[in-house]
């Protein structure tokens, strides 16, 4: 399974994703520039965290016009795996690949801490290695992670089982329905604010992010 990690100007969790996949999971991931127009040959694409284009308009807003975006859209349509973490999630919503939007945290402050998440859907290719309703510890680090969608969209998300991760017990940013991560209807596009790539080594404080990558890699093998 060949994985592309897209580097936008201002991406800064690209190396974290690269190391989690290559060094820890022994997968085959490589960086691709935001200028790339084709992602042929890749089975999955990851939009890492960071501050693309400084997040100067809205987080993720400017990145949606990068040259690589049509290729990402095509991969999503073709049923390949698309994962957006933090700024990557923001970009996926700005692109319209996932519904809703991410607002500033309710506290108006950037928050970096490890939070508890509950796995609400373990049936998509990113979560099969988790138990349904499993509680996991994953770090967050964002200033605009307050998920918002209107009632109709929320009803749709619930109906289709698109809510993948919820904040458990403590909602750090004010997200509606404690939403921390959602997928598209088909389940091949996942966006999440928490950083699973920061939770893959015991020495760094925990490994609850590993099953996500294992699920992901396993699904690639089967596909």
């Amino acid at each position: 399974m060949k994985i592309a990690i897209v580097v936008f100007p201002g991406s800064n969790c690209d190396i974290d994703m690269y190391e989690a996949l290559n060094t820890v999971c022994h997968a085959e991931a490589e960086y691709v520039s935001y200028r790339t127009k084709k992602l042929d040959g890749f089975d999955a694409v990851i939009l890492p965290g960071g501050f693309s284009y400084g997040d100067y308009l809205r987080a993720g807003a400017i990145a949606q016009f990068a040259p690589v975006i049509p290729a990402i859209r095509k991969m999503a349509q073709d049923g390949k795996l698309v994962l957006g973490v933090c700024n990557g999630f923001q970009i996926l919503t700005e692109m319209g690949l996932l519904p809703g939007a991410l607002k500033r945290n309710n506290s108006l402050q950037f928050i970096c801490e490890t939070v508890k998440l509950q796995v609400k859907n373990n049936q998509i290719p990113f979560t099969t290695e988790y138990d349904q309703d499993q509680i996991i510890d994953i770090p967050i680090a964002h200033g605009e992670g307050n998920y918002y969608a209107d009632d109709a969209t929320l009803a749709e998300l619930e109906k289709n089982n698109q809510i993948v991760f919820e904040y458990y017990q403590h909602n750090p940013n004010g997200s509606v329905k404690n939403i921390a991560g959602i997928c598209n209807k088909e389940g091949n596009v996942l966006g999440m604010m928490p950083h699973p790539e920061r939770a893959v080594e015991e020495v760094l404080g925990g490994t609850d992010g590993l099953p996500l990558f294992k699920s992901f890699l396993k699904s690639g093998v089967l596909a």
């Binding site: 800064n12 969790c13 190396i15 974290d16 400084g54 100067y56 928050i111 970096c112 790539e197 760094l204």
Partner: protein, 743 residues
Amino acid sequence: MKQAMTPEEIKEEKPYLDWSLTEHEYDYICDKLLKRLPNYTEIGLFSAMWSEHCSYKKSKPVLRLFPTKGKRVVQGPGEGAGVVDIDDGQAVVFKAESHNHPTTVEPYQGAATGVGGILRDVFSMGARPVAILDSLHFGELKNNPTMRYKMEETIRGVGDYGNCMGIPNLGGETTFDSCYNGNILLNAMCVGLMNIKDMEHGKAVGLGNSIMYVGAKTGRDGIHGATFASADFSKEHETQRSAVQVGDPFMEKLLMEACLKLILKHRDWLVGIQDMGAAGIVSSSAEMATEGNAGMKLNLDLVPQREPNMSAYEIMLSESQERMLLCVKKGHEEDVKKIFKDYNLDAVTIGRVIEGENYVLYHEGEQVCDIPVRSLTEDVLEEPSKEIKPQYIIDAEKMPAWRPSFESSGETLKRLLNQPTIANDQFITQQYDSQVRTNTIVKPGSDAGVLRIRHTKKAVAMCTDTNGRFVYLNPKIGGQRSVIESVCNIVASGAKPLAITDCLNYGDPNDPEIFWGLRESCQGIADACRIFETPVVSGNVSLYNENDGQAIYPSPMIGMVGLIKNTDYVIPMHVQEADDIVYLVGKTTADFAGSEVQKMLQGKISGLPEAPNLEVIHDYLKNLHKAMTQGLVTSAHDLSEGGLAVSLAESVFDTEFGLNINLSEFDKTLLFSETPGRLIVSVKPENKSAFESLLGSAVQEIGRVTDQRKLSIKLANDELNTDVASLEKIWKESISCLMKSKA
């Protein structure tokens, strides 16, 4: 044009006095250095380059006190940052810098650009910045909404810049004292990593080589920032906002990646590289020419400008952020441009290295400056300073020592944990990304931050410490104690201390008492650095930290870095297992002068802090570190503000444990003494004899870890019995409660 005044008018009207250049210096420049009258641009350049901020003319004699050499020191003070060997061809690169005045005037931008500047210093050496630390000192928060606002903005500024750059914040410190009410201190430290073979220098050499400008365009921001930073601070500065620069971390991220790519992949194209920091183009270019023993010619019309009609003087002195100056080998200009183009940045040739040793500037077709380079950088008149030992210190030496008096140790501990300087600063640190780039082993909130070096077993530990109160009461002892605290923090994490950087934050050095304090405290720092074998490899001086004549405490900040050779022996600050034995390392004396308990109970500080025995402390800390590397120590925590009781409590916060401590020979007041050089450590029972035989009489067994969440301490004349949860609640909520208060 274009000179606002003729040389003769300058001589008559003395505009340079407003730029902090004295008449004596002006005469020296005319008579001895140039042997003619300088023009408007030239005298502007002198005033900036001869400011304390750029020239260290006041502090130089003091800085010479510091030991700067050591077997691991690759680069000491004088370059962008200090470089220290950590084996295997790798080095840590670090420096701290103050941004006190800008932060006081415009906290958000002042803090942000403080971080931006120190990052450039580090990556200009060829190192990738891997951690930021911030040492913050605010006025009291209580009944002070302005200070609370300034604190929020300062934190947001530090956070936004580092978070956007994707460089983790590994800690630092935050203290509160009314002496900082009118003058906030923001000291930012950056730690970088590099392979020693990639080390760069800020130099320009080689006839015909090009001087290239990269990064943001030049505007009128921050003009005279350097002299601004070197002038006393008063109400009228509240309107001087134009002197504060605005930061653009996104630009800096691109600039950093582009510069590192150039340095690491194409070093044969590059001769030298330097950040345009204080005093902008003039200081970076003149320093590079001086370093290379070269002359330099610049055409200011080629400098990318954001605003129209800027004068030569404005272009040269602008402190617009996110700019770097390169010296590029002739013929490689286009190659360099291409590298920067890939990051959407412009690189522009603005001049070249010339024969001789003059610094020549052209603007709008005219020569506006032609002076020897060294007259700007090296010929500055060092000013001998007067010093007087302040009367309050002489008096204190004769006064009987103050001792606290209180009923209940438990209640006193609770009140101490509620003091903002002691209380948990998660309110601040959780606004900083501490984990990005996934190397952080120990996050902020511990004695030292610890970062692993990827693909090795090594890690580096880092901390900052400022002991303004002790330095105020006795500068030399305070200076020594500042270094001791850093050493204890670094050792507590399992690391061996390597070297320090410093930010020397003081008031007006023309006040003989302040200068005396500056020299004495630096002597103290130097003494301690010699004993602990931690040379000073970089640093920064910030004088004139005064507001309406009221000086801050003399507040030297020590930033220390240590090396852990094996990440298996990173030592946590929290206890880990019930029944482990708790030891107190170091002797406890009745040392209350300048302590937190004194400030809390008396409302002020007084007395003479105890002079530490540096050799003794060094010996047992070396042994403690040895015990750690042998796996004999389970946890370790430094004793600082608040003393033993506070540290014991902190060592069980965020755990499921408690402590049962027996100090039946201790007077209850000793729980809050702040004798330096102490730690508490926990040791597994099976390691007891091995540990004790290494540490000998330096340690005292004081109790056990329990699985009950209770802190119990038996004392000679009191008994403390409190549940940990209630202590933890006070400690955790103190700062956020203050921030939310309406008063």
